[in-house]
Amino acid sequence: MEFFIISLLNGISFGLLLFMLSSGLTLIFSMMGVLNFAHASFYMVGAYMGFAVSQIVGFWAALLLVPLLVGLLGALFEKYSLRKVHKYGHVPELMVTFGLSYIILELVQLIWGRIAVEFRPPELLQGSAFTLLSQPDGSLGFAWGRAALEQCQPLGPAICSLFPATRAFIMGVALLMLVSLWLLITRTRVGLVIQAALKHPEMVEALGHNVPRVFMLVFGAGTGLAGLAGVMGGSTFVTEPAMALTLGAIVFVVVVVGGLGSLAGAFLASLLIGVMQTFAVAIDQSLGSMLLAMGVALSAEAQAHELMRFTLSKAAPLLPFLLLVLVLIFRPHGLLGNRDH
């Protein structure tokens, strides 16, 4: 039972991290129609900067500073590079961000080297948020922080499952960020201008608002969010040059599955994918075992065939992309998509 709960929480925390990343991407896409290929690269820059800055002023200050720095970098990129390409259309914009991802990767490796760097969370977050104790009589105990060692195996009777504080922190910050983002867009003046610029940029410009500046701010905000995700993801998982490539593809899946341009869709899709990947690992059922369970008779050699022995857990990394293809076949607008691109 605790396995299910911990796995669910793991999946949700991973999904929320994905959401932090993809929300920035969705924001940029909604406003400007640009799919920022280098978004995961800004995530990586956030992680590395978090590493560097936290060594000078500590983790908590870095948590506040780094998103601003990364946002500033994003805004500068938008002003000096993306804006020039805007007139050529969407495809060149995509290509410029594609080239940027190469450059960022090389610069990061140049400054911080090619191995993973040791970016650890602060003392406060290094422990566990809570412990689930699975008692031998079947009941489930709960303890804040780390449960006393005497209670846990091998010394005690219960199987203790810890839930790391860093993950709980990710969940907290992500939810906070979602709420504040929603409030910002729907309740403030800036948010109103942004919403209007989304639908009718020329009209908004005619009304006297500096639309290019709004775009720059939005791009900066989006990349800043990626930077924030980077600080937290980098300290929880690993900070290495390959982190952009691996996470980048999944983020695009999230955005497309959720529906290009829909924040709520991105939220749903990231949770779905996070939970799906986490639970898929746990399922050792293969096609063969499923068929056997259904009563289909399989000969010994058929059972040994690679396709029959292929378990869902091995397929876990494939699932997000499989989901992408399925969604594109049956629901091309994405789960909650509303813009037709």
Partner: protein, 417 residues
Amino acid sequence: MKLTRRELTAAALLTSALPAVPAWAQRGETVRIALIDPQSGLMGPVGINQLRSFQFFAEKFSGAGNPAGVRFEIEGFDNKLSASETLTAMQAAIGRGIRFISQGNSSGIAGAIIEAVNRHNSRNPGQEVVFLNHSAVDPDLTNSRCSFWHFRFDADTSMKMEALTTFIRGEPTIRRVFLINQNYAHGHQVARFAKEMLARKRPDIQIVGEDLHPLAQVRDFAPYVAKIMASGADSVITGNWGSDLTLLIRAANDAGYRGRFFTYYAGVTGTPTALGTASEGRVYQIAYNHYNMGGQMQTWMNEFRQRFNDDFFTGSIIHILNALGVAMQNARSTNAVRVAHAMSGLRFNSFSGPVEMRRADHQLQQPLFLTRWQRVDAQHPYSPENTGMTLALVRRFDAYVASTPTSCAMQRPAAPV
């Protein structure tokens, strides 16, 4: 080579009669070795470390440092972990006149090199090349895919597992084992041999779970760790390396897993930093060398550390240079074919004592060491990556203990006259 008694005495008389510095044909010649390994990307740091190691020891073993009196020169090629780039690099190396090729990161690429070398040598007599494998441990390379031109200086997966399971046999506290590996040839082999050998030596041990995850893709090992904990395993055997190992152990520490990890690659660039103090006493490594071997090896390691601010762990490089030196002296030549014949079945001394390049499959028979992650102390002073921790020796396994049989049916070319 077998000599009659007469020939032996004649040779003995001849060698004793000659002055101390005989004019062997190969003395003073330069032997160039091409090292084709990744120097960028995921395995870049490991590849760069190995290139530096090769160059460092080439210096030490050149000239008077080896019995043949040759000079070793190392040329590095970046194959970016790609088979096609490796073949192109081989072309370039052969085009430059290099006849000795070394590689070790990725058994898949090693297999590709073996096939390419076989093809090249059969299509281009007179330009034969020899492949010196420093770290690719897939047993198939000296079994089903063995080749006369391939020499492996690392201990293969089966040898390491043989030694590891010998240790486990004597540990009654180990009862439930979980196998987690990368889903490719190396990981499959580790899992396969673990199951086979445990079944043979400790049939009472239960394999409570087995997982194969994609190579270098998983960033979040929490689900796997949750599985390990749910299975109640007291030990985990894994052949993982790089980020797959560091993230796994870190996730296990985060989740509060208290069992032991038996690994192959805990000491490789990047992992010691990630292990830190949290893994003290619970992570083991089986390898053919370790950080605290003492003597000349310790001096070299300290010197390497001082010069490059990096740790030396690819001991097979020393094996290679030793083997080449002795083989070239025996063959009295640096010609690749002659050297290959001389190395086949060669017995020589290296840093871990006397070792033998087994004639049947060209797998180096050597002692293995089981080490455990713990704090540095007086007997184990060397701390990799300045962590304050080290891998301390737990048990040494003689070469005959670690030796495993081979099914290699090697096709040997005719020995040159």
